[in-house]
Symmetry: C2
Subunit: 239 residues, 2 copies
DNA sequence: CGCTCATTTGAGGAACTTCAAGGTCAGTGG
DNA sequence: CCACTGACCTTGAAGTTCCTCAAATGAGCG
């Protein structure tokens, strides 16, 4: 867990350049909500953005009123909590295509950009009333929520395992979520990963080294690029 | 974490005596769904039970198809997972009034009675189509899900703290969920609590002893009855 | 009373954290 | 081009927490 002095800048930059126009956002949206034109129009009336954030920008603070759901267009968004003793825990990472923010009525975590990221804000009340009229929307919302719940429960299970297993599981899971590319480019900092896994960065680093030495993974040239070499072995470490 | 030999009897007793009639179930239901008579009739057409389970009975196995949502009428229900190395983790406890079971499409945990318990089964598909017609039902479902999600996220935060903090938080949280009675009668076994907190029963026991010695709590005569004496001190231990 | 099961206590060892130092890399200015 | 800087990651050594194994104690029940 990080100490408070690692904490992110408490600065909301709502005026970042909009990289995507609404067309780009709609394309991302279509993957989730389908491509019904009239539905898309209704949805785009509810949305605000996309808004761009730089790494470590705060998107919404703990205790804020949760009026908007968030839809990640690019980058990685983290939800985290700083406790009184100054340690930080990362509750979840959200990748492009993820829809989240169901807290009622206030946030219990703060929402921050783990990398440079673009986020769409969708008025919660509007989406809810739309869902009561359109079953497709309701199903998307239900799916998003149950998916997030399933992920949270997996996270709980992970946290009662040892560090090696947590790291192996995290890397494999991230590799799957990012589309099983040849290389795994870990997009967030090791500090973020460590705070997500409930270990120190030193323990994280040591366990990556151990797994590298036993031939399960290897570090490749750019900053945080890994090659998962022995998936069978990784699964064994994951239990 | 428990070893496999502590595991629950893999035996489903669907023929236990029905203790409550439908009237009793309806009363519990009304607290959640309101007391509209016609809505109650529609709901009772979807429900099955209440079914009684003895402690440690399996209600539904991991990997089962999740056709039904569960509504706890009495007792405590736990969801848990046994991993390959034989250790068990408890993901969540559900108390009377809790509605849960949103896994899609298969369960990823098994559902078991942590104490003798009565459970109502509600056809998922029926409840969903009812929700698309009745906003009240939809809201109840949304509230149940977001509530469960919030609880899961709290659990994640808990798991990255030390053992003392986890135990204190668990006891306080349980005391609140059970209605802040004078005494806290912990309904589930220490093994269940330990597996929920990701510590051994020995660590759990030692930390209860330590908190008792420092005057935060005290053990009272019946089996697992505690008195939370110093709520301020407890909050301090919880961070 | 004597059985069983659940819980508590103790001692030793493993895993993880803490503290401290060293290394790597990209950006910056001489 | 090269040294300097700061952010980030890695490594080492010492200390703490928690787990494991083992035994004792306590509670409920025939």
């Amino acid at each position: 867990m990080t100490k408070l002095d690692y904490c992110t800048t408490p600065f909301v930059d709502f005026n970042c350049t909009k990289i995507f126009g609404t067309a780009g956002a709609a394309a991302h949206f279509a993957k989730v909500f389908g491509d019904d034109a009239s539905l898309q129009r209704t949805l785009s009336a509810l949305q605000r953005g996309p808004v761009s954030f730089y790494r470590d920008n705060v998107i919404a603070l703990d205790e804020d009123i949760a009026d908007y759901l968030l839809f990640v267009i690019s980058g990685v968004v983290r939800t985290c909590k700083i406790c009184k003793n100054g340690t930080r825990s990362v509750v979840s990472f959200y990748l492009p295509g993820d829809l989240f923010g169901w807290a009622e009525p206030k946030l219990s975590v703060s929402i921050e950009a783990a990398t440079d990221a673009e986020v769409l804000f969708i008025k919660r009340s509007g989406l809810l009333s739309l869902a009561s009229r359109d079953v497709r929307v309701a199903n998307v919302l239900l799916a998003a929520t149950t998916n997030e719940l399933a992920r949270a429960q997996e996270h709980i299970l992970l946290m009662s395992k040892n560090a090696r297993c947590r790291v192996a599981s995290f890397l494999t899971d991230l590799w799957v979520r990012l589309g099983k590319a040849k290389y795994l480019d870990v997009p967030m900092s090791h500090q973020d990963v460590a705070d997500y896994l409930g270990v120190t960065i030193e323990t994280l680093s040591r366990n990556i080294t151990i797994m590298e030495r036993s031939g399960l993974i290897s570090r490749v040239s750019p900053r945080r690029r890994l090659l998962l070499q022995n998936h069978f072995g990784l699964r064994h470490v994951m239990n």
